[in-house]
Symmetry: C2
Subunit: 220 residues, 2 copies
DNA sequence: GACATTAGTCGCGGTTTGTTACCTATTGCC
DNA sequence: GGCAATAGGTAACAAACCGCGACTAATGTC
């Protein structure tokens, strides 16, 4: 090893808030530190490696799967980080519901987290806001699902992200109009009730589809 | 608590992309380094001070005015920073069009910037995307204007942010429906044409105004 | 006064949307 | 098989919304 060079590891951590939809609620992947206390996965930022690249590798390492979608959140130096980092950059990732994580890690409902260090707690609680911020521009909801899904599952993913109930017929009509999904030949029988057709995310190019300005969201 | 630490330079900079609308285009405040080369205002992050707080102080220092709106962007370690920082956290701020900056600083159109260091260039070019991302949730367009403004000015601010032309009557109808502005008693005569009534940003509480899901934006 | 210019409004017609109702396919039970 | 229960999927209507062109209003210029 070389001489202790404090800058080598960087003064900042990359903290991963890996999200998944389980039982109708947003869950976050929590691992355990060497001491056994629960922590979000994190890594020291290394010079010469891109932050997002590092976050992707961290996600693959810790979940055994690449994240289906990833975005960075607001960097913060507030409160206490488990590693004592001066600065932390959160990355919010998304994965399908069937990913099985290695022992030592577990999915926790985002509103029932174990006792994380304050900074990580804040980052996890901000994850839903980040997802909401991006869901109109990126197919976040689709990335919470497997490659093939039913329309009811897709609607549930949207309801989870939006935090409100959607009307079935309206949802499907809007989806149809957007040419975002394509039906497959498969159908899935869930036990009771009529089997559901399976769809996949297959966006097709559309016209310049200008809609009105969204004043209605400003000011809560 | 932690022992009192010297306020040492962290390994990260806070870089300010201060935006303002001038002559129908988005402008960014650019200052000069000690050597005379153009740079975005930046500061080393100090332990014990919040990042956003530091960015607010930086804005006030460099423009003589507090930012009317501020949000953090995606932290990056890519490319070269003028101070050689390993990591940089951009903050995107917004100010009214009448702010006069001290000599040494100047407003530059965001698509005609002087030769900034690559990392700062990327951060400045990403500013409009950040503003667009937030404009549906926060009154970004209003913060590009003085406290009192005409509806035509407001429409121009929206057109600048959206990058497209809006229809006057539709814009005003949507604005009316959102109860976002209140008229003042003042009118402004701009020279030719009918005088315009002045308005101010005054959001009023509205019902749970749910609109449909925005599939139409996903996938470009 | 005629005209150009900018502000602000009205209303028609097509589109979108919330909602109710209905139809279809499957399971479980008698 | 017959039938209730359950869940997927569609049709159709009324109301709200939106793009758009046309209109009125106030001011300055010639």
């Amino acid at each position: 090893m070389s001489a202790p060079k404090t800058r080598r590891r960087g003064a900042a951590t990359i903290d991963l808030v890996l999200c998944s939809a389980r039982h109708g609620r947003l869950h976050v992947l929590v691992t355990k530190s060497a001491g056994g206390t629960p922590v979000l996965p994190y890594a020291w930022s290394a010079e010469g490696e891109g932050l997002e690249q590092a976050a992707r590798e961290l996600a693959r390492d810790v979940a055994g799967h690449p994240a289906a979608w990833l975005a960075s959140g607001a960097a913060t130096s507030a409160k206490r980080h488990p590693a004592g980092a001066a600065l932390s950059v959160p990355f919010i990732g998304v994965m399908g519901p069937t990913v099985v994580v290695p022992s030592g890690s577990a999915w926790h409902a985002v509103d029932a987290l174990p006792a994380l260090a304050p900074r990580q707690k804040a980052m996890a609680e901000g994850a839903l806001d980040t997802l909401r911020l991006h869901m109109d521009l990126a197919p976040v909801a689709f990335r919470l699902l497997p490659a093939v899904f039913t329309l009811s599952e897709l609607q549930q993913a949207y309801e989870l992200l939006l935090g409100r109930h959607l009307h079935k017929a309206s949802f499907r009509r809007a989806l149809q109009a957007a040419y975002l999904v394509a039906p497959t030949d498969e159908w899935r029988s869930e036990g009771r009730g009529r089997p559901a057709q399976l769809f996949q995310y297959a966006p097709r190019k559309r016209r310049g589809n200008h809609r009105s300005v969204r004043f209605d969201l400003i000011g809560r």
